[in-house]
């Protein structure tokens, strides 16, 4: 214990006096989480967490790290400081993606093979209910106002609007084929969704639950079938949205006011997921094939660094 503290202090001394955030990256093939100091640009350590870790998130208070260990059929909880396991959540089979309620009490997990969303009471470590959704649920998001839980079914091609109070599906929106990731704007007014197959990003208006904008991603010299949008993140002020484009190896920078794509930033191979730094000055991407993460400076919209982290980086979470 003492040793760990000392090494952390040493790292802090070497970097700057500015308190740096910690980036956690799940390594699907290494059965581990990589711990990265992004300001120093250094991989601090790699911690084993369980079989095939994919989805990852921090609790609201930053104290607990949740990791979906898909092949163990569970979501594990870790102390975010020590990375010691503190408990397991009954996620159902093969958990991949999950979302937390804004109050930090509930977790929603996509169960891809069972066409279900499992609702978990985190404190009680108990599954409260299961919501039947479409075929192959993947992306999941809770609106910041805690009104909606959205589940995207890849084969049903639908976004399901689950009432977060009753856990009943209230409405469904048909979208472009193979919807992948969903993300709300900070004001909960808009829902952004990616279609892996059509190569599009759809912007829905939360009130009408209809598609208001469809943005087609196209890169000159990249064959259209490689344009497979996956993760999407929108900044707090809805100035920009960022979309990971999978095997197109790029992140699309979309002006979230005009819905125009302003830039395509070349990152590592097969970019899956994205996470902002707490001050939203940087964006971190996991690159599944090139085994690294890319760090994007958001004031300049430039990739500043790639950092090797281990085999098959999948999910990413940032601790202030």
């Amino acid at each position: 214990m003492r040793k760990i503290i000392i090494s952390f202090c040493a790292a802090a001394l070497f970097t700057a006096s500015v308190p740096a955030e910690t980036v956690f990256v799940t390594l699907e093939k290494d059965n581990a989480v990589a711990v990265v100091d992004p300001v120093a640009g250094a991989l601090i350590k790699t911690v084993p967490v369980g079989q095939r870790p994919r989805g990852i998130a921090l609790s609201q208070d930053g104290k607990t790290l949740f990791v979906a260990t898909s092949d163990d059929d569970t979501i594990r909880m870790f102390d975010a400081e020590t990375l010691r396991e503190t408990g397991k959540l009954p996620s159902g089979e093969d958990p991949e993606t999950f979302a937390l309620s804004p109050d930090g009490k509930l977790m929603y997990v996509s169960n891809e093979d069972d066409s279900e969303v499992t609702v978990i009471d985190i404190a009680a470590q108990k599954a409260l209910t299961k919501v039947k959704v479409g075929v192959e649920p993947e992306g999941i998001a809770v609106s910041p106002d805690n009104r909606w839980v959205i589940s995207a079914s890849e084969t049903t091609n639908m976004l399901h609007w689950i009432d977060s109070k009753t856990h009943q599906i209230v409405d469904n929106t048909l979208v472009d084929p193979r919807p992948r990731a969903v993300s709300f704007t900070a004001d909960s007014q808009q829902l952004w969704a990616t279609s892996e197959m059509a190569g599009t990003v759809m912007v829905l208006d939360s009130a009408g639950k209809q598609i208001a904008q469809t943005i087609k991603l196209e890169v000159q010299g990249v064959s259209s079938d490689l344009i497979q949008p996956v993760g999407v993140a929108i900044d707090k002020d809805r100035r920009y949205a960022y979309v990971a484009m999978g095997p197109a190896n790029r992140v699309a920078v979309i002006n979230a006011q005009t819905y125009q794509v302003e830039k395509y930033l070349l990152v590592g191979q097969r970019v899956w997921n994205l996470a902002f730094s707490p001050d939203q000055k940087r964006l971190y991407t996991t690159n599944g094939v090139s085994n690294d993460i890319s760090i994007i400076d958001l004031t300049e919209h430039k990739v500043t660094k790639s950092l090797a982290v281990g085999r098959y980086p999948w999910g990413v979470a940032v601790k202030p």
């Binding site: 891809e112 093979d113 066409s115 039947k132 479409g134 075929v135 192959e136 079914s153 890849e154 084969t155 049903t156 091609n157 639908m158 399901h160 599906i169 469904n172 048909l174 472009d176 084929p177 193979r178 197959m197 059509a198 064959s223 079938d225 497979q228």
Partner: protein
């Protein structure tokens, strides 16, 4: 009591989409290899999985999908079975011989139905013999041959030695290979008929070197759809050359080595429900029923004509686990789709191969394009 009343009220307000799956049992064919057991129910389990997927979606769209499976024994009366479907069922998935497709399509009772040919690869059925109310799910022989040719061109394996088996189907496959060779500038340096009547298992080691001797070539292309001798060519040729065609590297709609684009999820779902790997016919039946699901959800209809209109429209996009949205060619009813190039235990490539361009859809570089179609 109250609960059941609520349920039936929901059921009554649902739109019902009735689909028939018509299958004629096949006689167990002679085969070279005893390794793979003959599977009688290829196709049916794919249709059943798709119905279940459709109904998962249907619970949100107030649509209910029903599958009526009709299995006719070898030699049974297919026309009678078709007529017995009645007017109530407007959508029929056929897993029958190529000759039976149009026999059924031309029945008076078929005229207002939409038929899905989920088993044939026959180019004539998509060409001069096409019918406007028949859609074809599996890639045609021409599409398969083009897929192989694109990959061979990429590898610069341009000189082909073609070996043709004895059945009519082998000759059709060979014709497709020759068409592809011409289209992609390949050179057929030799063509030989395999006419040995004895069991190749016993004699391959002696026969194949002699049979393939005397020519230089890049690849040996085999046309043996039934699998009577093709498996025994590899490693036995006079020159060390790869084998492609109906054996060796094959062009197929589906293969157990395929895992990309979410395919592993379909493979797993199928294996869990069927207890075996998904075969090409299972995939075809799955796609036919899923196409009906997709079109009926988007068109909000259970009518064959409205479903057909939507399927043939620009808006139709079927997710088939092969990375590109699939749709039907309006000129001949063929489902445009990527084709897998597979070795027995590894996926070698996917066609259209990168670099083969087309003004509207790269998928239309495979098979008969609009200007070439004989379907009038």
């Amino acid at each position: 009591m109250l609960l059941s009343a609520v349920f039936s009220a929901v059921a009554a307000s649902k739109q019902s989409i009735k689909i028939a799956y018509l299958f004629q049992e096949r006689a167990v064919p002679a085969a070279l290899s005893n390794l793979d057991a003959f599977i009688q129910n290829k196709g049916q389990l794919g249709a059943e999985l798709a119905i279940s997927d459709n109904n998962t979606t249907g619970q949100f769209t107030q649509q209910q999908y029903e599958l009526k499976t009709v299995v006719v024994p070898v030699g049974g009366d297919m026309a009678a079975a078709f007529n017995a479907l009645g007017d109530d069922i407007g959508l029929v998935v056929l897993n029958v011989t190529p000759a039976q497709v149009n026999q059924l399509a031309d029945l008076p009772s078929a005229q207002n139905k939409l038929l899905f040919d989920a088993a044939s690869s026959d180019d004539e059925l998509r060409g001069v013999q096409c019918r406007r109310h028949v859609l074809h799910i599996l890639p045609s022989r021409a599409m398969r041959a083009d897929a192989l040719a694109q990959y061979m061109l990429k590898k610069r394996w341009r000189e082909w030695f073609l070996v043709v088996g004895q059945t009519a189907e082998d000759r059709l496959y060979a014709a497709a290979i020759k068409r592809a060779a011409k289209r992609y500038g390949m050179k057929l340096v030799a063509e030989k008929a395999w006419d040995n009547t004895y069991d190749a298992r016993r004699t391959a080691q002696a026969d194949v070197p002699q049979f393939t001797q005397g020519e230089d070539y890049d690849v040996l292309v085999v046309a043996d759809e039934q699998g009577l001798f093709g498996e025994y060519l590899d490693y036995r040729t006079w020159l060390p050359r790869p084998v492609i065609g109906t054996q060796g590297l094959i062009a197929t709609a589906w293969h157990r080595t395929h895992e990309q684009w979410g395919a592993v999820q379909l493979q797993n779902r199928f294996k869990e429900s069927a207890g075996r790997w998904m075969e090409e016919e299972d995939y075809a039946a799955y796609l036919a029923v899923r196409a009906i699901g997709e079109a009926s959800v988007r068109a909000k209809s259970n009518q064959a004509s409205a479903i057909k209109d939507y399927m043939l429209s620009e808006a139709f996009a079927l997710q088939g686990y092969k990375g590109k949205p699939m749709s039907f060619r309006a000129w001949d009813g063929q489902l445009r789709q990527p084709i897998l190039l597979a070795a027995p235990r590894s996926l070698v490539g996917v066609a259209p191969v990168e670099g083969f361009l087309h003004p509207t859809s790269e998928l239309d570089t495979l098979g008969y394009d609009q200007p070439e179609t004989a379907c009038k």
